[in-house]
């Protein structure tokens, strides 16, 4: 213990009393702590560097993921907006099916003794896909109405709330036409 404690001292004549035995622990502790401090400092320094490096790469991943997410979200918003527009247009088109084929089919369905006196097709303002058909046929009777309805059914329309009023030589017919998407 004496050698350990005095090893840093140059040879000289003792001018004071030796260190009391209890005090000898202090330099020993100093050596141990010094060595431990070097190793622990190195360990903690390297650990900190490693953590910082990991943190940098994690921040890079975080930024990348956030960029990706915002990109996906922006695309989702764009698609949602486009889809809303698409629904608006689809809704409009649903109530805009051409009526000319109906008028032609009705005209062509007329037999020898029948003529269309008046044909009116009015779309329901609330539900434009529903079209109120009012038809006045001169001559032909019920058979003619049946033929005309068959011609309309051939265009994939269905009739609802049909009403028929027979006159002396004419028939008034009205029904709501709804396109049946088959």
């Amino acid at each position: 213990m004496d050698n350990l404690i005095h090893d840093l001292k140059t040879e000289r004549q003792n001018i004071s009393e030796g260190l009391p035995s209890a005090y000898k622990l202090v330099p020993v502790t100093f050596y141990v702590v010094s060595v431990a401090t070097v190793f622990l400092s190195l360990f903690f320094y390297l650990s900190k560097k490693a953590y910082q490096s990991t943190e940098d790469s994690m921040r890079e991943r975080l930024t990348q993921a956030q960029t990706q997410q915002s990109g996906f979200t922006a695309q989702q918003n764009a698609i949602s907006q486009e889809s809303m527009k698409a629904e608006g247009i689809a809704k409009w088109l649903e109530g805009s099916r051409p009526l000319q084929p109906v008028t032609v089919a009705i005209g062509r369905s007329m037999g020898k003794d029948s003529t269309v006196a008046e044909l009116s097709l009015d779309r329901n303002p609330e539900i434009p896909a529903h079209t109120l058909m009012q038809l006045k046929i001169d001559g032909g009777g019920s058979q003619q109405i049946e033929n005309t309805l068959n011609a309309i059914y051939a265009l994939d329309y269905q009739t609802y709330s049909a009403q028929q009023v027979k006159g002396r030589n004419s028939t008034d017919f009205q029904a709501t036409l709804i396109y049946a998407d088959r």
């Binding site: 004071s16 009393e17 005090y23 202090v26 330099p27 502790t29 100093f30 702590v33 431990a36 401090t37 622990l40 400092s41 903690f44 320094y45 650990s47 900190k48 953590y51 910082q52 943190e55 994690m58 921040r59 975080l62 993921a65 956030q66 990706q68 997410q69 996906f72 979200t73 695309q75 989702q76 698609i79 949602s80 486009e82 889809s83 809303m84 527009k85 698409a86 629904e87 608006g88 247009i89 689809a90 809704k91 409009w92 088109l93 805009s96 051409p98 009526l99 000319q100 084929p101 008028t103 032609v104 005209g107 003529t115 269309v116 006196a117 008046e118 044909l119 009116s120 097709l121 779309r123």
Partner: protein, 178 residues
């Protein structure tokens, strides 16, 4: 104080200083570890959210594909009419091309549905009287030439002359400003 006591005192101060320094370094390292763990958690959460957003995007794409395909197909037809004048001009062209006898025409701009995708439309009130086949062909031509149009009213009666028909039309043409 004796010399050796002074020396021990200095050593104790140095020991305390070293222990304090090491402890500070340990604290800083622990703090760095905690921050790293926190950032790792945030990064993993963000990656999961990004994956979720990607899945939702694909799902949304698949779910709306038909709608959007239809929209892409129809958009140019609607884009042709940015103002009521565009629509009015097109109707006039169709009438001129088909050479039907036009009795009267009236145009007005009407609000169809407030806040809707298609909120405004040009409404054309047209009265035509001409040959049966010619008039019905013209009616088809209107619907073909302006696919976005909606005939909201169509009234056909006998015309004044032999094979003529009298046609009253109410045509709506949606106007979509840019």
């Amino acid at each position: 104080m004796k010399n050796h006591q002074s020396a021990c005192f200095v050593l104790v101060i140095l020991i305390t200083g070293m222990l304090y320094g090491v402890n500070e370094l340990r604290n800083v390292t622990n703090e760095a570890r905690d921050i790293t763990a926190q950032v790792r958690t945030e990064a993993e959460t963000a990656e999961q959210q990004a994956q979720l957003a990607q899945i939702q995007l694909k799902s949304l794409e698949a779910k709306t594909a038909d709608h959007r395909a239809g929209y892409a197909q129809w958009k140019p037809h609607f884009a042709n009419y940015r103002t009521a004048q565009d629509a009015e001009q097109r109707i006039a062209e169709v009438i001129r091309e088909s050479d039907v006898f036009l009795i009267s025409q009236k145009f007005e701009t009407k609000e169809i549905e407030k806040g809707a995708m298609i909120s405004d439309a040009l409404v054309a009130h047209l009265v035509v009287e001409d040959d049966y086949a010619k008039t019905l062909n013209w009616l088809g031509r209107v619907e073909e030439a302006i696919p976005s149009s909606r005939i909201s009213r169509c009234n056909i009666k006998r015309g004044d002359r032999g094979n003529d028909i009298h046609l009253e039309l109410k045509v709506q043409i949606p106007v979509l400003p840019e």
